[in-house]
Symmetry: C2
Subunit: 183 residues, 2 copies
Amino acid sequence: MGYRHTNEEMLEGALAAVLDEGLSRLTFGRLAKRLGISDRVIVYYFPTKDDLVAAVLAAVGAQLQEALAPVFVAPIDDHRDLVRRAWPVLAQPGVDPLFALFFEAGGLAAAGVEPYRSLVPGLVQAWVEWAATLITGSSAHRQREAAAAIATIDGLLLLRQLGGPAAADRAVRAIVGDTVRRA
Amino acid sequence: MGYRHTNEEMLEGALAAVLDEGLSRLTFGRLAKRLGISDRVIVYYFPTKDDLVAAVLAAVGAQLQEALAPVFVAPIDDHRDLVRRAWPVLAQPGVDPLFALFFEAGGLAAAGVEPYRSLVPGLVQAWVEWAATLITGSSAHRQREAAAAIATIDGLLLLRQLGGPAAADRAVRAIVGDTVRRA
DNA sequence: GTGTGTTTGTAGCAGTCACTACAAACATTG
DNA sequence: CAATGTTTGTAGTGACTGCTACAAACACAC
């Protein structure tokens, strides 16, 4: 038998743990107990808590992009086009806990808490840039619409977290409902 | 000379403290040190930490409404109309720290952390309802546009916190179209 | 003055946290 | 076997947390 634990296995466990309990309850001790191992194995692979959090946040970012990938299969005209297509995808189960994590990390980043302040903006920027490459039109148009799309989706999902699904659905109807027919 | 401390004075100090350091660094000890008083005076007025946090969050909510009040002086047609008028107001200094607090509390609420989970949704709901009363049109239209306005503004300000002012400005341009008015 | 409410000093509680020291058992490679 | 890397046990550090106990000084209303 090989060694029992690997970096990836523990990262998966950590991701499951934070999806379950949130970042604020991620500790060496709790994660070890959850995985049924010694806490010092985790420290062996992630020498500091920041190392662990950074790895978890990277995994969250990857999961978020993976969750949004189906939205970007077809060329996108503008941010409202994107929201219209994204909303059914964002209604899938598993999306809300993922964004709950994102908002928790984003809130801590906005509050200046390390290591979130240093890590989350990079995630958002990568996300916007990735969206920009999948929108049609001029470079300026793509950058504008990508930023608007990320902002709108984030706002809608935050409203869903804090105001409930009904309020978010109402907001989506207002945003994509009045269809302006423009080229 | 009267007693030295009142509920409101300490609440003001607590609000200033969280605007400075964030909710995650709000403790009895730090607040007392900042105010130059004993920590047990704070406990005397706010017997538990949750009492203190609840009072601070209520104050934050009031400040947010106060900051947004100038937006709602004129009748609002729809959420894009609101965003167009709100953006110059939201560029005022002091708005960003206030929303950083809101996002910190919202993130913790999304993560299920008490007492945020129990307190923040009420704030958001009150905010949406308040906005709905100031939008013109039918009841359904007002509710839709109010929810969309809150979602859009939150998304834009979150993008400003995490992606920088330039990205947020780009997003606003895409959302409100070419008729952006700047002050 | 008496009674009641406020402020502070001093001290401590029990819990959690990230992190460390050290030794021993274990697996893998060579 | 020898060398190296991995896992665990036991134990502990120092810092911080919300919260409490108790007594004393203080302000105020009556």
